[in-house]
């Protein structure tokens, strides 16, 4: 047997990097969405104005940037708003969103599912149920197929 079959160093090569027809994403949008403003949201939560905090949290989603720190920060803010909601207020909040808002909410919900903390799963499941009632399976499919993740 040839000597090179004993070595497994070739397994560490990523062969797709050498393919000249490799699919490269065109992500050339301007990085303008930096995520919601944390201080403003904190103020609103303290005042008890959950609806406005909710809407502001869903504004400016950092979908275009590749910087994970920005995405983490935005996710943390949104999750804080979602978990401070009362169960009875969830449904009117979801109803106040438009189609793309529901899709965006679903994206955040699934991101929140990824790292469950003490109480988050229960409240996130309630959010999920209400968002699913409005968005249907299509909104979940869009979370799965979206190339610009939140």
């Amino acid at each position: 047997m040839a000597k090179n079959t004993l070595s497994s160093r070739f397994r560490k090569l990523d062969i797709d990097e050498f393919d000249e027809n490799k699919f490269v994403d065109d992500h050339d949008e301007p990085v303008d969405n930096q995520g919601p403003d944390g201080a403003e949201i904190d103020n609103l939560i303290r005042q008890g104005d959950m609806m406005t905090a909710f809407h502001i949290a869903l504004r400016n989603p950092p979908v275009n940037t590749k910087n994970p720190a920005i995405k983490e920060r935005a996710l943390a803010i949104v999750l804080r708003v979602l978990t401070s909601f009362k169960s009875s207020d969830i449904e009117p909040a979801v109803k106040s969103l438009d189609r793309s808002g529901v899709d965006l909410l679903m994206k955040y919900i699934y991101r929140g599912f990824e790292k469950p903390s003490d109480n988050s799963s229960a409240i996130l499941l309630q959010w999920h149920e209400k968002a699913f009632a409005v968005g249907g399976l299509g909104s979940i499919v869009r979370v799965l197929t979206a190339r610009k993740t939140v």
């Binding site: 027809n21 699919f23 065109d26 949008e29 979908v63 189609r99 793309s100 899709d103 968005g135 249907g136 399976l137 299509g138 909104s139 499919v141 869009r142 197929t145 979206a146 190339r147 610009k148």
Partner: protein, 381 residues
């Protein structure tokens, strides 16, 4: 609405002959079976065995009565009926991946094959050498071509591909036709020219930021060729109008992704997919909006019998809901995803019957008039 179960295996693809008495379909293997209609029964009259891989596309040319098939063995065959037997002619496509879809042009002098080699092969018959020759459209396709549809002018071709874009190409072959006149999609049409491309880098999407979000499964030109509709894997359906291609109207639907779409009038389209029932969409040209028209399926008669307390608790235990409807199976006619839809009568401008085949091995013919009367508030404009 007649449901006929052909087989247990999925029907990969199908095509009808001109007078709709015969259907050619692939039962998820290497062959093509042709069935003939005898009243309400279907009998198999031919088996076309030539492919070495699964047959992924069949198209039956109505006027010249030729069938073109393409498969995962990277070949396409053109079948002609000689007497009682179908004789194949191999077409060299020069592709190195599977062929995915095939379509005769409206004048039937050429056909297009979409493949996993990231290109479209346009094949035409060369009289001097007595064989089929193909030309490739490569740029700027970057992934598998999933679906094709020809424009009525025999030159423009719409292609939906896995690189999340739907494009209109020119497939003008100077050997078989004259220069086409200008259309709403453009006036200069050399071979391989891209006249329209959907998605973020081309034109901006309509409602929702999901522009360019999923593989484009199905494309369809309207009867006039001025409108192009496509369905995508992110559960959206979009329509672009030639000439006004800066605005694409799209609708993010609540259903699972739709796999196939067809115009039934100039303003309405029917699409079907993983939800196992066809869905109607209505396009409003003046407002540039696509709206959900209704679910096209036979409504199931729910029996109104009382449910005992014991059954209620049993339901709660088994299915977490104490509802009465025993949803043992799907309520739709098709029991699995619908993969292809074809217009039977009336053309794409005033369709009166269309047919769907799916992964449950069944074929359903839908009658538009009885759908309109059965399902109230369904309006086909």
């Amino acid at each position: 609405m007649a449901y006929h179960s052909f087989l247990l295996e999925p029907i990969s693809c199908h095509s009808w002959n001109k007078d709709r008495t015969q259907i050619a379909l692939c039962p998820n293997n290497h062959d093509v079976h042709i069935y003939k209609k005898d009243g309400t029964k279907w009998t198999k009259i031919h088996e076309l065995k030539e492919h070495n891989g699964q047959v992924t596309g069949i198209d039956w040319a109505p006027e010249s009565n030729r069938i073109v098939t393409c498969g995962t063995d990277r070949n396409a065959y053109v079948w002609s009926l000689k007497g009682e037997v179908w004789k194949p002619t191999l077409v060299i496509l020069r592709i190195n991946r599977a062929a995915r879809c095939v379509s005769w042009s409206p004048k039937e002098n050429k056909f297009a094959v979409g493949s996993g080699s990231r290109l479209i092969s346009i094949c035409y018959f060369e009289q001097e050498n007595d064989w089929w020759v193909c030309k490739h459209i490569k740029k700027p396709i970057r992934s598998t071509v999933l679906s094709l549809d020809w424009h009525p002018n025999n030159v423009l071709l719409a292609a939906g591909s896995c690189d999340f874009k739907c494009r209109v190409f020119s497939a003008y072959i100077k050997e078989v036709e004259e220069k086409p006149g200008p259309t709403v999609w453009g006036s200069k049409m050399p071979f391989g020219e891209v006249l329209f491309e959907s998605g973020p880098s081309g034109v901006s999407g309509g409602a929702g930021e999901g522009a360019g979000g999923g593989w484009v499964h199905g494309v369809c030109f309207s009867h006039s060729g001025n409108r192009l509709a496509w369905t995508s894997h992110d559960s959206t359906v979009a329509i672009a109008e030639g000439g006004k291609t800066s605005t694409i109207s799209s609708l993010s639907s609540e259903t699972l992704p739709l796999l196939c779409v067809s115009f039934i009038t100039e303003n309405s389209l029917v699409a079907a997919g993983h939800d196992c029932y066809p869905v109607l969409f209505v396009y409003d040209g003046t407002k540039g909006s696509v709206t959900f028209g209704g679910k096209l399926d036979v409504p199931k008669q729910t029996s109104q019998r009382g449910i005992s307390a014991r059954e209620r608790f049993q339901n709660l235990d088994r299915r977490a809901t104490s509802s009465e409807t025993t949803e043992q199976g799907l309520e739709s006619l098709h029991k699995n995803s619908i993969s292809q839809i074809s217009v039977l009568e009336g053309g794409k401008s005033k369709c009166s019957t269309f047919c769907t085949t799916g992964m449950d091995g069944g074929m359903v013919t839908w009658d538009v008039k009885s759908l309109e009367s059965d399902l109230k508030d369904l309006k086909i404009v």
